[in-house]
Symmetry: D2
Subunit: 386 residues, 4 copies
Amino acid sequence: MPPQIAAATGDGAWLQAMVDFEVALARAQGLPELDVPPIDPVEIARAGRPSGNPAAALVAALDSPDAHRGATSQDVMDTAAMLVARRTLPLIHAELAGVAATCAALAREHRDTPMVARTLLQQALPTTFGLKAAGWLLGIDEARGLLTAVPLQVELGGAAGTLAALGEDGLAVLGRLAAELELEEPVLPWHTRRVRVAQLGGALAIAAGALEKIALDLKLMAQTEVGEVAESAEGGRGGSSTLPHKRNPVGSALTIACAAGVRGAASVLTGALAQEHERAAGAWQAEWEALSRALALTGGAAASLREALEGLEVFPERMRANLDLTGGLIMTEALVPRLGRAEAKRVAEEAARSGQPLREAPDPTTYLGSAGALVDRALKAHEEGR
Amino acid sequence: MPPQIAAATGDGAWLQAMVDFEVALARAQGLPELDVPPIDPVEIARAGRPSGNPAAALVAALDSPDAHRGATSQDVMDTAAMLVARRTLPLIHAELAGVAATCAALAREHRDTPMVARTLLQQALPTTFGLKAAGWLLGIDEARGLLTAVPLQVELGGAAGTLAALGEDGLAVLGRLAAELELEEPVLPWHTRRVRVAQLGGALAIAAGALEKIALDLKLMAQTEVGEVAESAEGGRGGSSTLPHKRNPVGSALTIACAAGVRGAASVLTGALAQEHERAAGAWQAEWEALSRALALTGGAAASLREALEGLEVFPERMRANLDLTGGLIMTEALVPRLGRAEAKRVAEEAARSGQPLREAPDPTTYLGSAGALVDRALKAHEEGR
Amino acid sequence: MPPQIAAATGDGAWLQAMVDFEVALARAQGLPELDVPPIDPVEIARAGRPSGNPAAALVAALDSPDAHRGATSQDVMDTAAMLVARRTLPLIHAELAGVAATCAALAREHRDTPMVARTLLQQALPTTFGLKAAGWLLGIDEARGLLTAVPLQVELGGAAGTLAALGEDGLAVLGRLAAELELEEPVLPWHTRRVRVAQLGGALAIAAGALEKIALDLKLMAQTEVGEVAESAEGGRGGSSTLPHKRNPVGSALTIACAAGVRGAASVLTGALAQEHERAAGAWQAEWEALSRALALTGGAAASLREALEGLEVFPERMRANLDLTGGLIMTEALVPRLGRAEAKRVAEEAARSGQPLREAPDPTTYLGSAGALVDRALKAHEEGR
Amino acid sequence: MPPQIAAATGDGAWLQAMVDFEVALARAQGLPELDVPPIDPVEIARAGRPSGNPAAALVAALDSPDAHRGATSQDVMDTAAMLVARRTLPLIHAELAGVAATCAALAREHRDTPMVARTLLQQALPTTFGLKAAGWLLGIDEARGLLTAVPLQVELGGAAGTLAALGEDGLAVLGRLAAELELEEPVLPWHTRRVRVAQLGGALAIAAGALEKIALDLKLMAQTEVGEVAESAEGGRGGSSTLPHKRNPVGSALTIACAAGVRGAASVLTGALAQEHERAAGAWQAEWEALSRALALTGGAAASLREALEGLEVFPERMRANLDLTGGLIMTEALVPRLGRAEAKRVAEEAARSGQPLREAPDPTTYLGSAGALVDRALKAHEEGR
């Protein structure tokens, strides 16, 4: 995982976000600027254990009568979670943009590079590598759209969600706090209305899944027997100490591993939607680590795949050779208009039985349908979506 | 589960959707209108087993040389899935709208009904039942927004996703088919780009979770010792043969049970994002039942909760009595401005120790902060969102 | 899914199990034999909705003053669940035994059939098809052991788990009921102690995963470019209407699809472990469908894979050809003892660079290590475990 | 989480386990004792990234021609995983034993303490706190049994699982390595046969769920309106800075939060059962973090609950008061033998309608059925199981 993504989701980042909440809260109330001493995240975590969350320990460490005025622990933690998300998402988006850019470049460069399409892992018909890459691109762009659509909202409700400790000023402070932290202002405090948290988890899981789809195709195409792509071997990457000839699809494997972890973490967030009354006893506390892991591992998946794609070697000649592997049998469908379905089937079965090439089969590159036009559509959508 | 939701997601509904695809596909190509004989869904499922999906069996049953021209099995199944979703979602939305309407009515009626807010299931501070209901409402409205945002797209790609069997007409037929079926036209065929399927599953899981949050609060409020609400006992509902005095929160319980099932089904869809090459061997086939169950159980959750809410009895006097249960201790925070934090804490601890009421405590209804204004915000957002 | 497994987990089977509980309960108390009228499962399900489970409706349909004496709804449903499991598991075990028998036969027959071992989908070293099949066998046998170890217990506790309505006879009736139904007698009623239900779900998910591992290997080996096995094409199986040359690994695909469904259903059971007090409001009711689906889909996975394996064609000549695909590079490790690690690596890299075969490489069949002995160990363990 | 559990599952513990494998492997082959220099886990993790796992980096750091002879990266990682598990499980078991001991003490002490049984969160019938605690105890003991039953096996197969690099000595070295590390010897290497890993994850999830069941009951009993138990307030535990009167069930909440995390992590392990060929590209790499989290969070759940239970205050007088809350209505079932079902129902309904106590109701403590005998059975089973 890239160090900056690990850092953005680590204990220090959470503590900083909590401090930022307290500082902004004081400002939003026109209180004196908070004086923040150096604070050790490990110590805060330890000190917070008896009260079940680190907020009270932080407030104690701030040692100011104005700190935390009008807020409750959950306000600190929930706003901090959204700040952590808002600071990590650009790092994830940068990796996703890198993935998309490479997919777009592959789609453009290989718009007309023929390869075989495989259904249920059996060779089916000709397609192009450009169309495959265009499909990858569109999946990533769709996932980016979902991630971007998640509202990241400030949380301020006080102990009961009524903003009572702020007297008449509750809603005004809420608005100023949102502006101060550059987070959205919610209609209501969301202590136990966790739709946006689960939405964020779901969007991360879908982004990870869109990445995993690409990694899955890459590792299948990189198989020794298929050989259509290889991840970079630069700097010993993908090497094996015992097996010097291997070119392991390491980036793809790590992407897939990370995606599995994201799903596990995101399932915790979906499972935490039902929270009791005005603050949950358990479901809320389960979110912190799950959200951190979901963010970090999505970033890890994206970074691993970006590296794999940027170093990818593509072998069009192997794609072509694989196209010819069945001796034209994959062209049977193309014969139907000329020979009729029954006759096409008959000659194909005869060729399959005899092991001879299917002489009637036209060249695969003549049967690519709308592949090129579809690539153009995907690239256009990608350009417009930026 | 409401019979019409069961029907909309059952075998018959899937078969009808598959037939509708074939009929529309012929129309989109200007072919003669398909003549559809009576078809038995059970027989089609059985006959489809050897090829791994029922599409080929349907095509055989249609017995027309024009049926299915240009399409592959996955085109039929994927489009049928989206038709099933498009036909079931209005039924789900109707139930969700009913839930939202009742929540809005409760928020309005009980805008100023005081009750105790509970954090970690401990009494914390005063709030209003209206604010609680407003939070429920907003959660449902947020979930409805996510469901509505899922694009339901037609699928047509032919065996390899290149539309090759349609020659020059591929993209035109794709557009006409989308219009014919009133589904969105995708940029590319989506044989193995399953973001929208997972997005639908995720949105259903979030809707189910938003419903479950309400059911959770209801069952807690309905506890014998709390007694703030009760589900309707009309027609023997919630009754127990052995325990005649009971008023079981049956609707809430079924909502929670359905929501758990939705999560299980939706996790299958998220887990199916990574599909191989141009058609998956396993992950795709896993979607059919999972999608049906996710739709049906979300509908079941919504219907159960709508019934529970529509028959809900609310007991404001018990809410008030519970507010007074701690003898004013929950008002400690309200003393802070007047007495200072230390002194407020001291008198509260003394009262708690002695078991005497906290004499200094003001009436809970004087410490509701922005509760009323927040209810108004939520109702306004609800009205505007319609 | 085999019809008998569908039937064993369907509504009729649940109703029968519920009736069996009531009949046995009367016998265990020495009451007159219950007279059971014909009962419609659909009608019972509908009538049971207001009370949140079908047990009360069944008792009403039995129309006997002695029916259900001493029991509560949950006793009926939980015992019925265990009876459904006990009646379905032999069907699942029969399919698993079929899978294991075919794996054992493959391991025996191909004990010395060389093929290439693949790590991260890259050719690594020689192995044998027998060793691969032996690994499959052991996985199935391990999973069977876990399934067999799940205790299936009768449930009888009365409304509160105290057996109070049975007066002094509670424990005696519990013991006789267990004997009558041939289920284990639990130490305590298990209304909200769901370890055994979750254990059953977990064992089913593991069995499904062990099946999926085999299906995954099969679909990879069946790839056009690999061609080492093929599922049977008999009776049009695995065929494609549009692509007559294809041999789709349909059984493997369905196995994988079913396994995904089992995981989703089993996750509901694990998530339902925390049930409130003496009967849960939601988590319990979520178990019924989840357990039925987990049982049915594990049976479906096992049956699909058994069919796939029983009809499997194995192509040792393709295995051999694939072994030679790298021109001996996969034998690099075998050179280390003779040439030393550095020199072995050098000659391998040179061969890889030049595209020439690695002349120093010995025949792959000379470097199979303990493969044969390991196959013998697995077969012995399999024999002993029966 | 207890620091020693965090340490036992952290990077340092993994590295130590990997080193222990290499040292034991040399011993098992009679090679010179490995000389292990100081190694930095962070550096190894970084250096291992290009090859997709840290094993090769470790071998390089060991800088000995004999290190790692005959093994592959997966042998190191898999054996290390089992060593980490074997070293962490005693810490988890100690916490679980503490939980069980406290439950047993509560069952013994409160064998005859009456309290109300609640079904669907409604008061149902009398029971005893002892019986409730006995149920908790049995759940923990069942979960401990499942955890103990998981075989922890050494892994040694070499690059392809054939032990080829060890020549004739493969099986002998495998046996000696198992003995050296005090792990079980497997029948076959288990590179891609992951039943035992998933079994471990499943057992951890069930243990966490059994803990969560107790925590759920505790937080419900600790509700202000119920007040039957309270977690310790010693040392400010469970306190709230803003709400000095609160006694938050912090230990229960953290237990529930941890259990949710365990489920998420364990689902990754179940989902990783299907691994390709002789080493997976993704599913295997996903296991490391998931296993560490599952172990650590189960330990965290157990430790939190042990603390909560050890400091638990029990209020039998509140249990008694709650028993009387319905004015005898919960005793309706007890009237059936004397009055008949119809008449019992009639008088209960009349009492409920009038709000008057049910005069006919006997004292709740006379209707406890076999509660005491059941407690004795559970305690006996607990004693015998030790």
